[in-house]
């Protein structure tokens, strides 16, 4: 099935799967940072690949981006995007440090990747058990740079199959009123070939 021929109920199904996956990921994040994590209603966007950087806030905006491949019964990519200041706050919180430039040292970079790993694993576990699929995240990769540059590797992969991308997006943010908010965006970009498998698995459950 092509991304453009999805029906309303397919889109709803994707939102629902993502909501459940993200619920688990938010619980994990909330335990990590010790505050409630709120989720926005997921958004499913079918878009031209060329528009993806705009949807991430602009190709030139500096972000911390973690990408993981989804391996197993269905394939795709997960993107976890934090605005630079949010990534810095997340690290200050986790590493109990006020140091600047945490993102660029080894400890900081590896901490952010681990956060990506934990969120992606929680998400994929929940999604996998719902769909009766084995879904495994790859080793996370991190780049802190212009959003366009961070994601074009994923877009290049998608562009080998077509010109459209399907993105399931959930925005989340922390809650501590005394501290500045941590926000981020979680994206699932299924491969076109795996979309059928995912939708079939949802449909099979009636």
């Amino acid at each position: 099935m092509s991304f453009t021929s999805l029906s309303e109920s397919h889109l709803d199904a994707l939102k629902e799967i993502s909501n459940i996956g993200m619920g688990h990921a938010a619980t994990a994040l909330s335990q990590l940072i010790g505050e409630t994590v709120y989720l926005r209603v997921p958004r499913v966007t079918v878009t031209d690949i060329a528009q993806v950087p705009e949807l991430l806030g602009g190709a030139e905006k500096v972000v911390a981006g973690i990408t993981l491949q989804v391996l197993g019964d269905a394939r795709g990519n997960i993107l976890l995007i934090f605005p630079r200041d949010s990534a810095q706050r997340l690290l200050s919180r986790l590493l109990h440090s006020r140091e600047k430039g945490l993102l660029f040292n080894e400890l900081g970079a590896s901490t952010v990747k681990e956060v990506g790993n934990i969120l992606a694993s929680a998400y994929l576990n929940a999604m996998g058990s719902l769909l009766h699929m084995t879904l495994i995240p790859s080793v996370p990769l991190l780049a802190c740079d212009m959003a366009g540059a961070v994601v074009d590797y994923v877009l290049i992969e998608l562009s080998q199959a077509g010109d459209m991308a399907l993105m399931v997006e959930t925005e989340f943010h922390g809650s501590d009123p005394d501290q500045e908010l941590i926000r981020g965006h979680f994206f699932l970009l299924p491969d076109p070939a795996s979309l059928d498998l995912i939708l079939e698995a949802v449909g099979g459950r009636g």
Binding site: I49, A50, Q51, V52, P53, G58, A59, E60, V62, T67, V139, L141, L142, A143, C144, D145, M146, A147, G148, A149, V150, V151, D152, Y153, L155, I156, S159, Q160, D163
Partner: protein, 163 residues
Amino acid sequence: MNRRINVSISEYRLAEPPAVLVTYGLGSCLAIALHDPQLRIGGLAHTLLPSARQMPAVNRPAKFVDEAVRRMREELLARGAQGQRLTAKIFGGANMFQPLLGASENGIGARNVRSARDVLDALGIPLLAADVGGSFGRTVEFDPVSGLVRVRAVRGREGEMTF
């Protein structure tokens, strides 16, 4: 103020003075600028993949390095540019996530760069500058009046350089 023409992913655009061509946030993608210095027109492409060969149905040829260069050249010639005056500059082709994706010479960025060198060579277009590789993003602004390209980076090499 010059008119800025935004070149998005998988496309190329041509420009005549006073417009300038801009493309934002190149990682492994490759930007190719072609220029006719006498006519002062140029084109800028933002490509994703090395080659259209061995690809099934191609409905957006400008996403390939080789096709984008060929088509951009044809369009420039159609506008009066001379084949033997054309020059090229290339930018991007980085490897954003260095260690894990294996040797960087086999990465998609490096393959895009090789493909560009090959097709430019085959068409006899001299490559005047190449700011490629590394593990950082680039934003590129091409002025067809001077033929100069300004490259902006925020990581790895901060600030702006002109090629």
